[in-house]
Subunit: 420 residues, 2 copies
């Protein structure tokens, strides 16, 4: 239905109808959101699942304070990397035993690149995206610095399309499933086919797709993948990341962060490193258990609904937002850079605007929380688990007001902060 | 005073006198300990500081749930690596700007070894201890695997004493300040002098000394150090670790885990890695903030008393324990392997006993919680912040009862668990 043909009351009625018919409307109660806020920065940091409060109290008072060292066994702390990894795996199309929750995204990129390079010892090119979330590239540089023969080739620098960079010298292709700036979505299966046809290995960064875009790692023939849990998986600020390796690669898996949690018998305290079998080999050191414990609530908040339902609502929300803001964007020099085609985007809407920083601050002042990425990108993430159609309509209204009123010119919105 | 010359009532009176005169007795109230337990496994996992409960509630409900993304600035999340690092630095003799709290011990060993090797590019030997906590060696193996010319030489394997392994080919010496098994303490300043005389770089593992043994990294001329915060610093299960680099090395500092938190301008999202100045360069990825937040309470619980006072009490507690159990050990085939000399030990008492596993289980059944390390080592950590002399006397009494009664032979104590 084209809302442009409706009057204001009819639009409100149609929005209410959509919320009333939303099969995922009950998920909203699983999250704590600040009163009055419309939170469109879940692609940066997801909100707190309500269950996390009581889970954390149990972890603090019962498991740590009362259970102490025995909680490594009795509370399952030591196994969390796997128990949470297997559950998370289900959300990204990974059969059990191929995913562990651990460390940071950056550390896991490092492991994944080394593991991929070890699978292709006769090749010396890492292909990545010039527009990648930068830490992926920074880490790739760190990997390359340790092997003088390694070459890093970037989409947008060495060729316009990543597909044109992949050849017989390519060892590994490090690629983002959803672009953190524009929200563009790659066709994982198609790119994997090309990568494999050239004999290379793929490392997928799922930071901006896990939990909101259907991901089928096993089905798409993925080799390795990494991602974070604190965006659309809502597992807490800086929550431990994850890493996936397809079972067919496990026997040949190796990575240099060979800490004791990746040892075949970590509590035998053997002198020499003997890598564990399977995905365990991608572990390194002791994990931050209190942060890990929140991953449970993050996963629990969405794992009982179908990813296809989350995807359908995500697309409906982003379609609605773009429909409502597009005329105003056009009139005021802002450009929606996120592709319109469903197959080509994730769950965010990105808009370039010269004064995007100030406009985002003006929106935040109105309770619509988006974020900004230099030099001119306004980003709005739409999480179907806790946003409804009325939220989107209110956010669009605020956006249109800010743009048409020019309130972003107010000096209180112009001053940049150290960290955004 | 020799307690052996006193009768039972006189011993009890003397113990009560010591507790009454304890200048650190007030610290006990800062910790939650399970009712009835005497916790001697703080060298494995420290107990919960009471302040951590309310701090975590604030972090969960105010900072995350209400503050959301703005807490990266407003709650100081992004700066925690430094603010906590500087406070922790004071406890280990490090002037501000040389210590960050981040990642795991294993990951930090990896960074420290690479940083040390980069400082000595013309050398190719890593010297370490055969009796090291194994993850240090596992990680050293991982580092060595990436550079075929690197050689790993171990104390106890290649020579009896580490001092005899250090020569003009030595790039780095990786050494534990306190041995995790025996509790032996190294003379850091003396070993640093030898290491530096040979032109090598030292990496100190402070896991079993930070928070309980006076450490003077700056004064002892240390180069690099790493350690954990979940033992005598009581910062929570798997809490983020720390890494130190002396300021004189900062300009030449490099390490391959070049993630975005180590970038000179992490929020500029530049395409190329440009290392930050100073200790920041040893950071990699986003940190687990909820686990990080507990480090505050762990440090606060001991940072307002002098480390010399903690050390004096630690030695008094361990002296007392050894005095009380030694006759029984001798009579029952157990051997105290921790050195008696104050200058030669940390804050734990280790006892070898063929049936040590079962004996530790029997002690745990009596509320005296120690731990066991294969093949035959019973370990008891004495944290002066929350243990008193009466605790030590009760623990010694339980130990003596278990040994003299032979109750450890009971089958319920013999069965090993998957994780100890």
């Amino acid at each position: 239905m084209n809302l442009a043909s409706l009057d204001r009351a009819e639009v409100a009625s149609e929005i209410a109808r959509r919320d009333g018919a939303d099969p995922l409307g009950h998920l909203r109660a699983r999250f704590h959101l600040p009163a009055g806020a419309i939170y469109l920065a879940g692609n940066s940091l997801g909100p707190a699942p309500v269950a996390a409060f009581s889970d954390m109290a149990v972890a603090m008072r019962e498991e740590w304070a009362e259970g102490l060292v025995r909680s490594w066994n009795d509370a399952g702390w030591f196994a969390l990397v796997n128990t949470l990894g297997n559950r998370l795996g289900r959300l990204i199309g990974a059969a059990p035993g191929q995913t562990v929750v651990c460390d940071s995204v950056s550390v896991n990129v490092y492991k994944a690149l080394h593991a991929a390079l070890a699978l292709r010892p006769d090749r010396n090119v890492i292909v990545a995206e010039g527009g990648s979330f930068p830490t992926d590239l920074y880490v790739a540089e760190g990997v390359a610095a340790g092997r003088p023969d390694l070459v890093l080739k970037l989409e947008g620098v060495d060729a316009p399309r990543i597909e044109d960079l992949i050849d017989e010298r390519t060892a590994v292709v490090l690629v983002n499933h959803v672009d953190y700036k524009t929200g563009e979505l790659r066709d994982m299966a198609a790119l994997n086919r090309l990568i494999h046809a050239k004999g290379a290995v793929a490392v997928w960064d799922l930071c901006h797709s896990a939990g909101v875009v259907p991901v089928d790692l096993d089905g798409a023939g993925a080799d390795l993948a990494i991602g974070c849990t604190y965006k659309y998986l809502n597992c807490g600020p800086g929550a431990p990341a994850f890493i996936y390796a397809a079972a067919r690669h496990h026997d040949a898996l190796s990575q240099p962060l060979s800490g004791w949690w990746g040892h075949a018998a970590p509590f035998a305290f053997e002198r020499g490193y003997r890598p564990a079998g399977g995905i365990q080999r991608l572990l390194c050191g002791t994990q931050p258990i209190l942060s890990m414990r929140v991953v449970d609530a993050g996963l629990a908040a969405i794992e009982d609904v179908e990813m296809s339902a989350l995807r359908a609502k995500s697309l409906a929300l982003t379609d609605l937002f773009m429909e409502l803001i597009e005329p105003v964007c056009r009139a005021h020099g802002a450009t929606i850079v996120t592709p319109r085609a469903h197959a080509a985007r994730g769950s965010q809407v990105s808009i370039t605007f010269d004064n995007g920083y100030a406009a985002v601050q003006a929106l935040i002042a109105r309770g619509v929380i988006g974020d900004f990425r230099a030099p001119d990108m306004m980003r709005f993430g739409f999480a179907p688990a806790y946003l409804g159609y009325a939220d989107v309509e209110r956010a669009a209204q605020a956006f249109n007001d800010v743009m048409t009123s020019g309130i972003w010119r107010d000096e209180r919105f112009a001053k940049r902060r150290a960290v955004t």
